[in-house]
């Protein structure tokens, strides 16, 4: 049995608020944590919040482009995570620490 769309009962604004909350939690994490890995994870969280919003709108409007865009965001997130972690490993090799507070040589 095909499932009915949840949007027969729900308004899009609820998903908007949910997505905003997740985004801001992720942002809070980015600002607060100094461990580089957890930082990257929080960025993934923010990306996922956006994904959720895209999928919600796509389902709401019946347009498939939203979900395809999620697909591409995931692509980018995966690539970014891979490269970011590689860089992080390099930094760790040089500084023996994952603290981003040490990376301030570019100060003016």
């Amino acid at each position: 049995m095909k499932p009915d769309s949840i949007f027969n009962a729900l308004d899009i604004s609820h998903y908007v608020y949910l997505s905003c909350v997740l985004f801001c939690i992720g942002l809070f994490g980015v600002l607060m944590r100094r461990n580089a890995i957890v930082l990257l994870m929080c960025i993934e969280l923010m990306l996922n919040a956006v994904n959720l919003l895209f999928a919600a709108f796509s389902s709401y409007m019946g347009d498939a482009s939203g979900q395809l865009f999620v697909f591409f965001i995931m692509v980018v997130a995966a690539a970014e995570a891979a490269v970011g972690l590689a860089i992080l490993v390099m930094v760790y090799r040089n500084t023996k620490s994952t603290d981003v507070g040490f990376l301030n040589n570019l100060k003016g």
Partner: protein, 184 residues
């Protein structure tokens, strides 16, 4: 067609439960000192988000989310954590002032975002379609309208792979730099 579900507070119960789990896990990710716990909490978050995708009629996305995000990326994170052997003790602590500033910034942004997007539902047309998230449907659009981004994403992956491999390569002779001394 009528939507068959239990309504609590005017909202379908699955939506409420899933949202609750998602937010709770997200908070756990952000606040926990132990990075491994953070990773595990993030995996749980991804699971709940996938569940959200299912109730949103985006089945393909749900599965892909699980496979790619929870299955590959998080595993990658775990590997790196293991490699670097990080645990609760070596976690750097942010100063109190920064924490307050972070909280204020994030909170403000939440308020402002919510206010901006408050009436957004008036600008979109509600038009739920039955099979919008099925593989067949998505594939149809992916290989016709979005063919170029699709190919480009392949190249992007190639570049990321090559980059990651090159970056991760250990040089034959490594001297210790001043950064190391600073870290001590």
């Amino acid at each position: 067609m009528q939507y068959l579900s239990v309504l609590v507070l005017g909202l379908p119960i699955e939506f409420l439960v899933l949202s609750f789990i998602t937010i709770l896990c997200a908070l756990y990710v952000v606040t926990n000192k132990n990075p491994i716990h953070s990773v595990l909490a993030l995996i749980l978050t991804f699971f709940s988000i996938s569940a959200h995708y299912i109730i949103l009629n985006a089945q393909f996305l749900a599965i892909v989310n699980l496979i790619v995000y929870a299955g590959a990326i998080m595993v990658l994170f775990l590997f790196v954590l293991m490699l670097l052997n990080l645990n609760k003790d070596s976690e750097p602590q942010t100063k109190m002032g920064w924490q307050v500033a972070a909280a204020i910034a994030a909170g403000l942004l939440l308020v402002v975002l919510a206010a901006s997007l408050h009436k957004s539902s008036e600008y979109v047309s509600r038009n739920p379609v039955e099979g919008v998230g099925l593989v067949k449907n998505l594939g149809k659009y992916l290989f016709s309208e979005f063919l170029v981004p699709f190919e480009l994403s392949g190249i992007l992956f190639l570049a990321a792979m090559v980059g990651a491999v090159l970056l991760g390569k250990r040089k034959s002779n490594e001297e210790s730099t001043e950064m190391e001394d600073k870290a001590q």
